[in-house]
């Protein structure tokens, strides 16, 4: 199998790894790059557990070819914190008990980050819309929505 080098920016750092032919971005990030924060939930674009940002836009990495990341800026949940300082979304998720099993959390966080980056003061409806592609089977949607709204409020005050 032919392998192709893929150079991209991962959470602000230059990164490069070999992608196998036909490899999806999820598998590439997890196995070839070693960023384990995007999760495999369905492999069909149905659950949002694998959500990453490419140039600031949420993408389902299980349905994206690894090569599509070449030369682009990729962001994942593992890059949300700045050193030991957590992103305010992470703080709000912790404060609001917005995770139970934690498997959907990385995807939720990056979808929420994309929303706040383009719309710092979203309404509740806009939060729900932004998270509508991310499933949570522990059904903690309410605390998740509250956490995103909390994070947005803090941002406005800051």
């Amino acid at each position: 199998m032919a392998k192709k080098p893929v150079t991209f920016t991962l959470n602000g750092r230059e990164s490069a790894a070999f992608a196998e032919e036909g490899q999806n971005l999820l598998d590439f990030l997890r196995r070839s790059v070693g960023d384990l924060s995007p999760k495999y939930g369905c492999g069909q674009g149905g659950c949002g557990g694998c959500t990453v940002l490419i140039d600031g836009e949420p993408h389902l990495s299980c349905l994206t070819l690894a090569e599509a990341a070449a030369g682009r800026k990729v962001e994942t949940a593992s890059g949300l914190a700045t050193g030991p300082v957590l992103h305010r979304l992470q703080e709000a998720f912790m404060e609001r008990f917005a995770a139970q099993c934690g498997f959907c959390t990385p995807g939720m966080l990056v979808s929420a980050k994309a929303l706040l980056d383009r719309n710092p003061r979203p309404t509740r409806e806009e939060v729900i819309e932004a998270l509508s592609g991310n499933l949570c089977r522990c059904t903690g949607y309410e605390p998740i929505i509250e956490a995103v709204l909390d994070a947005a409020g803090e941002r406005a005050r800051a």
Binding site: K39, G46, S78, Q90, M94, R137, C138
Partner: protein, 547 residues
Amino acid sequence: MSMIEFRKEFFRDERDDNLNEIGKPTRRQDILGHVTGRSPFYDDHLFEGLLHIRCARSPHHHARIRRIDVSEAERSEGVVRVLTGKDVPRNLNTLLSLLDFGLDDEPLLAETKCAYKGEPVAAVIATSEAAARAAVKKVRVDWDVLPHVLDVEEAIRPGAPTVCEVYPGNKFVYHGKYDHQKLRYGDVEAAFRQADHIVEGRYQMSPIEQAPMETCGAIAAPEVNDRYVCYTGTQALFFSLGTAAKVLSMPSSRLHFVGGTVGGGFGGKVDSIHEPIAILGAMLTGKPCKFAWDREEEMQVGAPRGAERWYLKDGVMKDGRIIARQFTGYFDSGAYTRLSSYAIIKGVGHLPGPYTIPNVSANVYCVYTNRTPATAMRGFGITGVDFAIEAHMDKGAEAVGMNPIEFRILNAYRDGDMKAHRREAKNCALVECCQVVAEKAGVRLSGEAAAAASTKGGGGERGRLPAHTVTDQDGRVEGIDTGGYARKGGGASVSVPTPPRPAAPQYQSAPTPAPQQAAPTPAPPPAPDAARKGALRFSSLSGFRRR
């Protein structure tokens, strides 16, 4: 967070601890890992040269296997090895055998026949998931398609296809004696003759998939100390460890299980299928092996909450009192037992619901059909029958022209009442819950219902056992060794040979008082002799047993 109101006055017999945590926001201890994407789920352990396992599965509901040909699959690109049932050291198991309950009935990989669509017959181990998928299609099975049965009541009619040869009547056998679980309390037939209304209903639910966000899976790898490490998403780490040790015929001390970080389970991650297959792969290839379901498998072959069918018959007086309730229940266990036998024990212990009814009877069957085996899911054994009971309560209220909330308040357990399984009802609070529901729903209760309390009016006559309870021997099963119902091979019909295993400890009943003694006395402490096997334990499955 202040939506929870504690009314501890209704729970005065419970521990009087002050609740320091419940009802107040608190931080999960694992939340930092969750929000940073660093919580170590089983698939977050990376191994160089990881091999991938995928199963070839039955396309039929029920079919005999004439021959399995894996030669083409073995030659397929990237394939390292193909496992079949012959590679499994002890290819017959029932999950609850770890609790000494039930007969081994299910192979890890089917050898002689498949009893549900999607049952695995071979496991391909390959260098990539894609290679494993391609090779699975090259496993050739020569099938002899058999008639199948998908309905619980059809399955127990004479002449129905036998789903699982271990239980030829398609019914689990309880305690080696009965083909169903019984509950008898008072005399329902006599009460039905006196009732003003007879209210009957049939209730059916569908199987429900747990659908965890993380699909079921495990990764196993050889360690350098003659052990195998197994990273798993199991909900029941020691249960999976025990099951793997049993089906692989190896001491559990050679297995190093790592788990506890579970991407949602809801009951669907107790069946311990992935761990033994992944470990077997690691044993036979010497390489790390991952066996995981994709989403389609999770939905199609992952064991759901089983479907239940209930028939309820109530005898109700004009004033709304329920004087008799009769249940006939059928749990659809699918092709194998897994945990359905246990679900029924829980369910029958719950009957007749939270209501004081002086005459109760139940026959509940664990039925085998050619459907996906069922297993645990949140409150399994209770949820289905509660749906039936509460739907039936509405029907009963309608029959006597009462408000359904008042009908429930009238019949609800009061503290001190006797339950049908012969335990005193305590700390009931159902009356108060009903009153709060009425208030929130804007339903105006009658003065009597509004004044009712779970702490008033219970006990006395309501707290006594019935003077007479009708018993019967319906469903008595002959030919199953009753000496130890869980003894392997105890069923007369067990035809599948099992490999020899180390002699299991023989369990003994606790010493009983001699019959001439007038009153029972506490059993003397067992002498420290060879017969003593361990501490006396109580289990809802098997009563008092010695470990």
